[in-house]
Symmetry: C2
Subunit: 408 residues, 2 copies
């Protein structure tokens, strides 16, 4: 069950001026399932994206990148039930067809539409089901449908993921609202992560692209990582420019900092929600590495711990199995690590130092921490100033059950 | 349950001239458990070893490396129930104490003894239990106790692992016999693998060291990998030199090839047995990558597939889920891989090519292959001459159960 996660109150999700969302049922995998989401952007909106590094990237990712390069995006189309991945040239053709149909309906060019798909891999995209459902999605377009959209993009997610924040930018109140899906975070390799975060702030295209990367690095990339992602992972940042602020283009400005804060807050809540809703999750784990030489080595160690099935099953069993944590640090691949200098904390409890168990540590202390639903593993490398955080969840019987039964 | 694996008939395990084995119960973890194995080598035996790359390597590994550097090894002491890992300076002291006790008993120097431990991490080695049991192990020493030793070194293993082979070398029949333990191969990071392979052939020290590495690379390193190993992994190769052949020192000789064949055969059987006995295994999987640019990239892709929890749960469910295999290839981290050139086979069935499902493929074909207990995934990269093979097993409910309950 999701760990301390409930779907947000729809009333807490603030409309973003210049954005409308519409939902429809195309019956892609299950009849009647609301599986198609159309997002319409007002003219002048700017869009930036960060995509999977997987060599088998899905057809819609390829098409998205091409269309984004042309700019002036006016619509996004998201379907669940089929990932249109591993579908070769025919997959590209069908993704392009869906863009063309949206374009005709909205009187824009096909290159102004971004397609997204998540669901079963290697099956042809059922374009014959998607196209007839587009008019219903259009008819449903409204500014206050973020909650419905958050539900419509779910696959194995149990809880819908959405969040809003506001900030003062250039004397104006700007709004940030985002939705995301993804729940396979027990092992982030394959969890298709889709994230859409929009603001009404005015931002230059160059800065928006930079913000997309920086915000992803402190949020979605803390539950997944370059070169280790699903075929379809996509994070899209939209700025409609309707808040009335002077366009922000200076990365060093106070306005940029305020906006980035709000974008990060929403994105971190969405990213953490993915780990909280991890398949079969019973515990939410934060792995924090401190005092490393650089961010890369901190992240490398954080992922070694966060991915280890042995660490994760121990957390499922509420077993403070320090040996498994130490071993994961040891095999993380940081070649010149001096294990005698490392301190490991479970919650606030010092559990290991000088290459072994801390003298002050008792099993009772570890067991007490393990009873919590949210647990932080903190590793202090004691050799620099860098740090990194990764969120994950534990590893239960239900993970195997879900993934043995679900056909991605 | 282990996949097509039964304990070898004790009569099939051939004594190796110059080697005696003795078993005793030290009661390290459970009273009465036969948890202590002493291996005595005749004077003149040569020994080489390959050890874990884990930065948190266990105390016995550190001591083993020191003692091996001095040469003239005459005894090995192996305990289960406690890994003496993450035990700091005190762990080194206790490992050294156990060597000293064996040395005193056998009238050799402590530096002529190699210590090995496997079991719980971070607990002090109960030297007070081990030392009193040594005389019983000595009293038990005999040449025909390989099967008993294979049983005594087991931890979560269900089936004892041992094998013998013979070869003609320099006009003499030489014998190779080996034992191994390790069963956590579902994810090889932490499965403590211990392997001991002995021959009565005469081999130069330099060649033996080279053979240890080469044989490990085609056997034990196909279920585990450098930098990604447990704290205690050790593979020891012993040559007693009592077969009467002229000492082999030329790597290009026919004799060397014949001996290497026999050593590899035994080691591969032991290594495969670990995957067959993987925790919770219901299927034995061979992942073979062909026509890569170099061995490293082939192994990288093989491991990405063999480690993916999503691939492994699909095999557990007998679901020919090609998408998960393709995605694993895609995130393996081989940056310039052209996925359109790759062919993927499940057994003999071509399942994917040109970036998607093969036109000739039917689900019925895939489902038929998935019914087998032993399945080969073959990936043809079509860009070179190199290849690599990795053995693993599927991922079942029982893996979670075993690892949630067992304290490594």
């Amino acid at each position: 069950m999701p760990v301390n996660l409930v779907a947000p109150d729809p009333a807490s999700l603030l409309p973003v001026a210049g954005i409308k969302l519409g939902i429809a049922s195309a019956g892609i995998k299950k009849p009647g399932r609301r599986d198609l989401t159309l997002i319409e952007l007002a003219a002048g909106a700017k869009v930036a994206g960060v995509f999977t590094q997987n060599r088998f990237c899905a057809a819609p990712v390829t098409v998205c990148k091409q269309h984004l390069a042309g700019g002036d995006i006016r619509a996004l189309l998201i379907n669940t039930g089929n990932a249109n991945a591993g579908t070769g040239a025919e997959g590209i053709k069908r993704a392009t067809q869906s863009c063309a149909a949206v374009a005709e309906m909205l009187h824009i060019r096909p290159q102004q539409v971004l397609p997204f798909s998540t669901g079963v891999i290697l099956e042809p995209l059922p374009i014959d089901k998607i196209l007839p459902a587009l008019p219903a999605a259009q008819a449903d377009l409204a500014a206050d449908r973020w909650s419905e959209a958050a539900h419509a993009i779910m696959t194995t997610d149990i809880v819908a993921k959405a969040a809003s924040a506001q900030a003062q930018v250039g004397g104006k109140t700007v709004t940030v609202t985002g939705i995301a899906k993804g729940s396979g975070m027990i092992h982030p390799n394959m969890a298709t992560m889709l994230g859409y975060v929009a603001t009404d702030a005015a931002v230059s295209q160059a800065l928006l692209e930079r913000l997309a990367k920086e915000v992803a690095d402190v949020s979605f990339n803390c539950v997944t990582v370059d070169g280790d992602t699903s075929t379809n992972d996509s994070f899209i940042l939209i700025a409609t420019g309707q808040a009335g602020n002077a366009e922000i283009s200076d990365t060093a400005s106070v306005d940029c900092a305020a906006l980035k804060n709000a974008l990060s807050e929403v994105s971190i809540r969405l990213a953490q929600a993915m780990a909280r809703d991890g398949e079969g999750a019973t515990k939410f784990m934060t792995v924090r590495i401190e005092q490393g030489r650089d961010h890369a080595e901190c992240k490398q160690i954080a992922y070694a711990i966060a991915r280890s099935p042995l660490v994760k099953t121990a957390f499922f069993a509420s077993d403070p199995n320090l040996g498994r944590i130490l071993a994961a640090i040891g095999y993380a691949g940081v070649a010149d690590l001096d294990v005698d200098n490392i301190r490991v904390y479970l919650g606030d409890v010092l559990v290991a130092e000088k290459g072994g168990r801390a003298a002050s540590y008792t099993e009772a202390q570890g067991a007490a921490v393990m009873q919590e639903a949210e647990i932080t593993i903190r590793v202090v490398l004691n050799r620099g100033e860098a740090n990194a955080t990764v969120w994950t969840c534990d590893f239960s019987y239900d993970y195997v059950k879900i993934n043995a039964e679900y056909r991605t």
